[in-house]
């Protein structure tokens, strides 16, 4: 049924996810910004539920948001959906900026985070040898310096409050310290990346994120498992 306006606040929202997925947390933070109540369903990806398979038959992945029985898949798509469906909800304001050019810029940083920043970070974490690790580390730092310049003196990438870019980068705020602990090397130091370093702590204690983080010890163990594969 077509619905062009804002949804009534008391309609049921369901989120299918897994505890360790940064994409799931991006959606959780977006829902939290809007003050949307939702029912969370933990999926076992080795034993996918009938619900997941029928709601996301194409990719069979999480997160999937279900609202009024209709599924939305792909975390970036879900976040924009949340921003539009609950347009004026939440003291957290709009997730994406209003201005079309600012929106395009925010979306480009999301692509940057996914395509330019994440690969060298992953390479650094999984590098089998010291030389490769150092090369990947420097490549990651080079991209982090780009982010550092973009952030500058702002509280968050979006300004005074968390926005789309902060949500897209947010998982790095807890993943990077764990990777640093496991590898015994640093990529974000206060000396080299002062603004980003401060942003990480600020994001973790921000209203959307502070009560919605994965269990970090459990996450570290799962990362250790991934690294030895």
């Amino acid at each position: 049924m077509d619905h062009g306006g804002e949804y009534a606040p008391d309609e049921k929202v369901e989120l299918l996810g897994t505890w360790s997925s940064p994409y799931v947390f991006k959606v959780i933070w977006a829902l939290t910004m809007k003050g949307v109540e939702y029912e969370y369903v933990e999926e076992d990806l080795r034993n996918k539920s009938g619900a997941l398979l029928s709601l996301n038959p194409l990719h069979k992945k999480v997160p999937v948001l279900v609202y009024r029985g209709k599924p939305v898949a792909e975390s970036d798509v879900i976040v924009e959906f949340i921003d539009e469906a609950w347009k004026d909800r939440g003291g957290g304001g709009r997730i994406l900026p209003e201005d079309p050019y600012e929106r395009a810029m925010a979306r480009s940083w999301v692509i940057f985070a996914r395509d330019v920043l994440s690969p060298p970070i992953w390479k650094w974490f999984t590098a089998p040898g010291e030389e490769e690790q150092e090369g990947a580390r420097e490549a990651a730092v080079a991209q982090l310096l780009v982010l550092e310049e973009e952030l500058g003196r702002k509280e968050f990438f979006a300004g005074d409050c968390v926005g789309l870019v902060d949500l897209s980068l947010g998982a790095l705020a807890y993943v990077i310290p764990i990777y640093e602990e496991i590898t015994g090397t640093r990529i974000v130091t206060e000396e080299r990346l002062p603004c980003l370093s401060a942003w990480m702590g600020r994001f973790l204690s921000s209203p959307p994120a502070k009560d919605h983080l994965p269990p970090l010890e459990k996450l570290k163990l799962s990362f250790l498992g991934e690294r030895t594969l």
């Binding site: 077509d2 619905h3 062009g4 949804y7 194409l58 609202y67 209709k70 939305v72 898949a73 792909e74 970036d76 798509v77 879900i78 924009e80 959906f81 539009e84 469906a85 079309p100 050019y101 929106r103 395009a104 979306r107 480009s108 692509i111 940057f112 330019v116 780009v146």
Partner: protein
């Protein structure tokens, strides 16, 4: 070409053969916006390009009053959002339907295009054959998407008219034609994907598409040269 108030301030930097450029030009044509096109020689990245796109150094780039927007899908979304008075919106009004359109827009690049690139990625014929299978599977999924999105008329992904997914997939139409002519691979096929095959013909008949697509013979010549350079062997079809 219709004129719009801010048309003079629009500039597109691109490479003539690029499917991503086709998307941008098609979107501008649909909105009736005037723009200046600047061909960029990929072998000699020119100054204007580097200045406007220091992070990615990629094309196409849209410059609106000097401000750059990169990434073809972002450019199309920007054109839609920055010029709301110029023609119908590329996205539907319904919030869930918008999410479905964005989902399929992402799918075209994340699945169809990535498999497609895999066809020419290595010298391993078995890997290339698998890439062909995945490309066709992605097209099959888009056939289903078309049925889901196009409503009763079964004309456009956008339903009543041309929409976002038509633009995103439409950029690949010249490449689909070339792939079929040069290598015999049919991404869309009247037998396998009848709705998409009809859609492709419908797309090619649009004035806005004709103005956006590169000349087929030039594209084909380009493709044949490339295939010879990489000594490509058409994977056997199953």
């Amino acid at each position: 070409m219709a004129t719009a108030g801010s048309g003079d301030e629009l500039k597109v930097l691109g490479a003539w053969a690029s499917p991503f450029l086709v998307r941008v030009l098609f979107a501008l044509q649909l909105k009736g916006l005037r723009y200046e096109y600047v061909e960029v020689d990929l072998k000699e990245k020119n100054e204007l390009l580097l200045a406007s796109n220091p992070v990615h150094k990629k094309i196409p780039v849209l410059l609106h009053a000097g401000k750059p927007v990169c990434e073809s899908q972002l450019i199309v979304q920007y054109i839609d959002e920055a010029f709301p008075a110029s023609g119908p919106s590329f996205l539907p009004a319904d919030t869930h339907a918008r999410a479905v359109a964005r989902f399929w827009g992402a799918y075209v690049d994340d699945k169809l295009l990535s498999s497609w690139k895999g066809i020419f990625a290595t010298k391993d014929e078995e890997e290339n054959a698998e890439a062909v299978r995945q490309t066709l599977a992605a097209a099959d999924a888009l056939e289903g998407a078309f049925r889901e999105c196009s409503g009763e008329k079964l004309e456009w992904f956008g339903g009543d008219g041309v929409g976002y997914v038509d633009i995103v997939l439409g950029g690949l139409v010249p490449s689909m034609n070339v792939l079929e002519l040069a290598v015999g691979i049919k991404v869309v096929d009247p037998d396998r994907t009848p709705l998409l095959a009809a859609w492709k013909d419908r797309f090619c008949a649009l004035d806005a598409a004709k103005a956006a697509m590169p000349p087929l013979d030039r594209l084909l010549e380009n493709a044949k040269k490339y295939l010879a350079e990489i000594s490509f062997k058409t994977p056997a079809s199953k």
